[in-house]
């Protein structure tokens, strides 16, 4: 064993470039898996943590079941306190306001979570007992006094610094009633509850908050501190049930972190995409490792033959190769862990940007660490296992033979029928309908089968490629180009492995482009409808419904339609509840400004809008339709002020707000069932020929200051929303780049081996008069041929992969994305493949050119 290890180490050290390239491939593969695992876990942990920190030490939270923003009466606290098992009940009122005097448009940011305006979230609390539920870390000034009616506020330091607010300063809050002045008495750190709303958070005495916001006697939340024995496990479950029984169905008693559940759901498809593409990157790495070990075995055929001659058994030979594989796997996986942690840092920063939310990096998750190391090792061992077996079959006679051409594996010569069969099975994966829980695995399986199928088919196409590309490369690289192109026929197995690696990585590049374009097309269509009209008008406080009529009277305005968003509870058949967003519109004015994007292209939109206007009808998103298995004609039960009520599903529409977890309803129903009559925003359509700038200026003059309005151009908002979509795909681009790098390593490996095998031949060519530069061109031509093959196959592979992924996303997430074929992606894929092949060939080409003629001629 000791000797085996020593020989293995020596063998690896004797081929430093090859060893480094192989380790690099393993490092990248392990790093990708670990980085994605860390990033996903960190994101989920941070998001859940935000909600959890907002309630800090509380064991349970009591909320209104209707989520109609009216909260509930203060007396409910007494009921809660009176429940056995409750030690404390900490009340709070939760409002969102704007900081007056600030640019409201500047306070609006869009993120992947669909967040729109960042307002200041203000909790009205009882300072004397609130610290039993939440922790505050004061950094300046003092925390709140015990006077419940003091008009004072404590802000998060980062927020205060950003808005140049100091302790002792008075600030104006824009509320329903108008401007209210409060004094800043202290600043807290952005930890614990200070993380709420990304630090745009403040606390003030409950009484003052109730007065300022016109919510006297109201609460929004009670944080329950359980008594010992009731704080966890069965005790806590029992306490939850007891509270629910006491309070009735008008209230929800929940665990604090579960409030983040809906937010976390929104990231599902994103994380699924990251995991899917990380598997692809692993496939590329596997081909690289297989190719490397195959070449190593070929290179050492005579050496292995000699070892067999002096008595080494087949099993010992296999063991030798596998020992090298284990060493590379362990080293690669170890380094990959370090690289993965570094990569995760970068991905986390990107995720923070996308979510507009700080993401705290978790400790390297032990499970994720084991998984990534395990996968790295398993892939290395698996990919090197076949070459190891081949090494074991080398006969002692090989030691005595003059080096000839490597005999190709059986699959190179006869594997193409298998290839066709595997491709057909993979294509069948498109049409097989499986449950969403296994769709992910079906997609991954289909992609893997396609890669293996292509591996069997590519060898029989090599000659045709040479015939087609030889004239082209001769034109580019002259006679040497022709020599280089033909060289790929000499090692079809080697050529195939390299083409596969390029194919998969280019496929990733292309499919990510296609995916992004599909999203953009569908999101664009939805945004055009959602942010309809020309202007978008909103305020820091809820607007009155009749403002719409006054806006419509402004010269140059053709039509105005209101919009309001509330959270509603959906009651499921099993008795559990989910929270969805309810967007209310006035159908009559809505159709004059913009339109819904119906999933059924033949839908009679006028008829459907009339239905919506009649009431008791909702339009649901494709996501809701899929999740709750609803179609037009079904009913969906919502919790309203008047109790539970069934609404008919009128139509299915595109909806990307709240990641699709949304319903569209009428204003009539909003008033009738949810008791809301104010407006979140107005969408305005400008008359043909009227100047948008003038209309904007006129509205601002008439109502801007009085109503504290912000007027924005819809074009600007659309552009911002689209840029979020673009940024979201940048993370996938990172994975694609990694896959391309791994493929490039494969090209370097292959060409290096090709040069090594042809050392004597290169010496001959130099001897008969080929210059060093001509040798370089010959190698570049060979690489270019492989690059073109990899690019073309890659684009085709990418077409399949993107269709698979879009189909998978549609099934698992309920989207109805339309597949798109981006022409730019086709060209980009080809260009990248060719460029990568040329750049990767430079090192082996220059090595070939530097060969000394005499040494090369004498090389054995």
């Amino acid at each position: 064993m000791k000797h085996t290890l020593a020989m293995a180490i020596r063998s690896l050290r004797a081929r430093p470039s090859r060893t480094l390239l192989t380790v690099a491939g393993i490092v990248l593969g392990v790093a990708v898996i670990l980085a994605i695992s860390i990033t996903n876990l960190s994101t989920l942990d941070s998001l859940a943590g935000v909600f959890s920190a907002a309630s800090g030490k509380a064991n349970l939270v009591v909320l209104s079941a209707t989520d109609n923003e009216e909260g509930f009466a203060e007396r409910v606290r007494g009921v809660v306190l009176g429940t056995p098992g409750v030690q404390d009940a900490v009340p709070s009122l939760q409002m969102t306001v704007f900081l007056a005097g600030q640019d409201l448009a500047g306070q609006r940011e869009t993120s992947m979570l669909g967040g729109a305006t960042i307002r200041l979230v203000v909790y009205g609390i009882d300072p004397s007992i609130d610290d039993r539920a939440r922790e505050y870390a004061a950094v300046e000034g003092s925390l709140l006094p015990s006077d419940l009616n003091a008009y004072e506020i404590v802000l998060v330091k980062e927020y205060a610094d950003e808005h140049e607010i100091e302790v002792g300063e008075d600030i104006d809050l824009l509320t329903e009633a108008g401007l209210e002045t409060v004094r800043v008495t202290g600043l807290i750190s952005k930890e614990g509850v200070g993380q709420t709303n990304n630090g745009a958070f403040g606390v003030m005495p409950l009484g003052a908050a109730q007065e300022i916001f016109g919510r006297t006697g109201d609460l929004d939340q009670i944080d329950v501190i359980a008594a010992p024995g009731h704080a966890d496990g069965d005790g806590l479950d029992a306490l939850q049930s007891a509270l629910e029984d006491r309070l009735g169905t008008a209230y929800t008693v929940a665990y604090p972190a579960s409030q983040g559940k809906r937010v976390v759901q929104m990231l599902d498809v994103y994380q699924m995409g990251l995991s899917f593409f990380s598997v692809i990157a692993i496939i590329v790495g596997a081909f690289l490792i297989y190719n490397t070990f195959t070449m190593t075995v070929v290179e050492r055929t005579r050496e292995i033959g000699m070892l067999r001659t002096v008595g080494m058994t087949s099993r010992q030979v296999m063991g030798q190769i596998m020992t090298e594989s284990v060493i590379l796997g362990v080293v690669g996986a170890g380094l990959g862990v370090g690289a993965g942690v570094l990569m995760a840092r970068g991905l986390i920063r990107l995720m923070e940007y996308l979510l507009n939310q700080p993401v705290r990096e978790v400790q390297v998750p032990f499970g994720g660490l084991l998984t990534s190391i395990g996968i790295g090792l398993a892939v290395t061992l698996f990919a090197s296992g076949i070459p190891a077996m081949q090494a074991g079959r080398i006969s002692p006679l090989e030691a005595l033979r003059v080096r000839g051409n490597q005999r190709e594996q059986w699959w190179v010569r006869r594997g193409w029928p298998w290839g066709i069969g595997l491709l057909l099975i993979a294509v069948a994966g498109f049409y097989v309908r499986v449950s969403s829980s296994i769709q992910y695995y079906v997609s991954n399986g289909a992609v893997t089968l396609m890669s293996v199928g292509a591996m069997f088919i590519i060898p029989v196409t090599v000659h045709a490629w040479v015939l087609v590309l030889s004239p082209l490369l001769r034109g580019l690289y002259k006679g040497e180009g022709q020599l280089g192109t033909r060289n790929i026929e000499r090692g079809k197995q080697r050529t195939t492995m390299t083409v596969i690696a390029l194919m998969v990585s280019i496929g990733m590049v292309y499919s990510i482009q296609a995916l992004a374009e599909s999203f953009r097309v569908d999101v664009q269509a939805w945004i055009d409808g959602y942010i309809g009209g020309d202007l978008y008008v909103y305020s820091g406080r809820a607007l009155r419904y009749d403002l719409g009529q006054r806006l419509e009277a402004v010269s140059g305005v053709e039509a105005v339609t209101p919009m309001r968003r509330v959270d509603v509870k959906v009651l499921k058949a099993d008795g559990t509840q989910d929270t969805l967003a309810y967007y209310a519109y006035d159908p009559e004015s809505y159709r004059r400004v913009t339109s819904f994007v119906f999933s059924d292209p033949k839908a009679d939109s006028e008829m459907l809008m009339d239905r919506l206007a009649q009431g008791d009808v909702v339009f649901i998103s494709t996501v809701v339709s899929d999740k709750y298995d609803l179609v037009p004609g079904d009913t969906i039960r919502l919790e309203t002020r008047r109790g539970q009520r069934d609404f008919e599903v009128g139509a299915i529409v595109s909806e990307f707000n709240d990641r699709g977890f949304a319903l569209e309803g009428s204003w009539k129903d909003l008033r009738r069932y949810f008791g809301v009559n104010d407006v979140s925003a107005f969408q305005i359509k400008i008359s043909p020929g009227a100047s948008q700038a003038q209309v904007e200026a006129e509205i601002d003059r008439l109502y801007g200051e009085r109503q504290h309005l912000t007027i924005e151009s819809n074009e600007a908002m659309k552009a911002e929303a689209m840029s979020v979509v673009s940024q979201a795909f940048s993370m996938f681009d990172v994975l694609a780049i990694i896959a391309v790098i791994v493929a490039a390593l494969g090209v370097i490996n292959t060409l290096t081996m090709s040069v090594l095998e042809r050392t004597r031949e290169i010496g001959m060519l130099r001897g008969v008069g080929m210059t060093r530069w001509q040798v370089v061109k010959m190698i570049l031509a060979e690489a270019g041929t492989v690059g073109v093959m990899g690019g073309v196959f890659g684009v085709v592979y990418g077409l399949f992969m993107s269709r698979l992924f879009i189909g998978g996303a549609n099934i698992t997430q309920g989207y109805q994305l339309s597949p798109v074929i981006p022409t730019q992606g086709l060209i980009a894929g080809l260009v990248i493949a060719i460029v990568v092949s040329q750049v990767a060939a430079l090192m082996p080409a220059s090595r070939a050119a530097r060969l000394e003629v005499i040494e090369a001629l004498q090389f054995e």
């Binding site: 003059v402 051409n405 002259k478 006679g479 040497e480 022709q482 020599l483 033909r486 060289n487 026929e489 000499r490 004597r760 031949e761 010496g763 001959m764 060519l765 130099r766 001897g767 008969v768 008069g769 080929m770 210059t771 060093r772 001509q774 003629v853 005499i854 001629l857």
Partner: protein, 250 residues
């Protein structure tokens, strides 16, 4: 006859680990145009080193090689390469044909490398294929040819540019005796019929017998030389005997 090749005071020293090895230790060597010279000597005598210096594949530590009036030592790598391409034909022990090229393409390889269109040299290629007896195998790949046939292709390749000199390193080293005789006969004919200047390095005395002059090296120096008269006639006689034997066998 004029000297096509003139080498004076050649010395070559190599560093091998901690030792300095003097492969050539003062060699003066010249070859007349149209002459066939064989260089012989025991292992380590410096014969391959001498061949490499004569062909511009290496530079001497001391001394000078002049080929067709061109001093090789003052050439940079690219210039030396061009000299090899146009003025020297190389024949190697292991044939070294390109497996992806056909017979005629391998013959035309120096032209391809020189950027010339082989089709414009169709006549010359056909002539050489006829000379080496492979005209009917012109489209075959090397793996379809025997060892002797491959070496004959290599000879045709070496002659395609009508070089000033052909250098052959152990041309029969990888062939059986009968095939080796055929190859040497070809080289002799190219010398007699085409006026080609040929220098071979060999340890095979039968191969050396085809040369007009045999130079013996020992310990990096020329030990002795032997002039052979009537070699052309001898070769003709051997050829006639072989052809007769061939006819009788068929």
């Amino acid at each position: 006859m004029t000297d096509i090749l003139d080498a004076r005071g050649l010395r070559k020293t190599y560093q091998m680990g901690e030792h300095r090895v003097r492969a050539l230790d003062g060699v003066d060597f010249c070859v007349r145009k149209g002459e066939f010279v064989a260089i012989m000597g025991p292992s380590g005598s410096g014969k391959s080193t001498l061949l490499h210096l004569l062909g511009g594949l290496d530079k001497p530590s001391e001394g000078e090689v002049t080929l067709a009036g061109q001093r090789l030592s003052i050439l940079d790598d690219k210039q030396a390469t061009l000299v090899r391409r146009r003025n020297i034909g190389f024949i190697f022990q292991f044939f070294n044909l390109l497996p992806t090229l056909s017979t005629e393409e391998n013959v035309a390889l120096p032209l391809i490398i020189d950027g010339q269109n082989p089709r414009k040299h169709e006549e010359r290629i056909t002539y050489l294929l006829e000379l080496v007896g492979l005209k009917d195998r012109r489209r075959h790949k090397p793996d379809q040819l025997s060892g002797g046939e491959q070496q004959r292709v290599a000879i045709a390749r070496a002659l395609i540019t009508s070089p000033a000199m052909v250098l052959a390193d152990e041309p029969t080293g990888n062939l059986d005796s009968k095939t080796g005789t055929l190859v040497m006969d070809l080289l002799r004919r190219s010398c007699d019929e085409l006026g080609q200047t040929i220098v071979i390095v060999t340890h095979d005395s039968r191969a050396a017998a085809y040369a007009d002059r045999v130079v013996f090296l020992r310990d990096g120096r020329i030990s002795t030389e032997m002039l052979c008269e009537g070699v052309a006639d001898m070769a003709q006689r051997v050829r006639a005997v072989l052809e007769t034997m061939e006819r009788l066998a068929n």
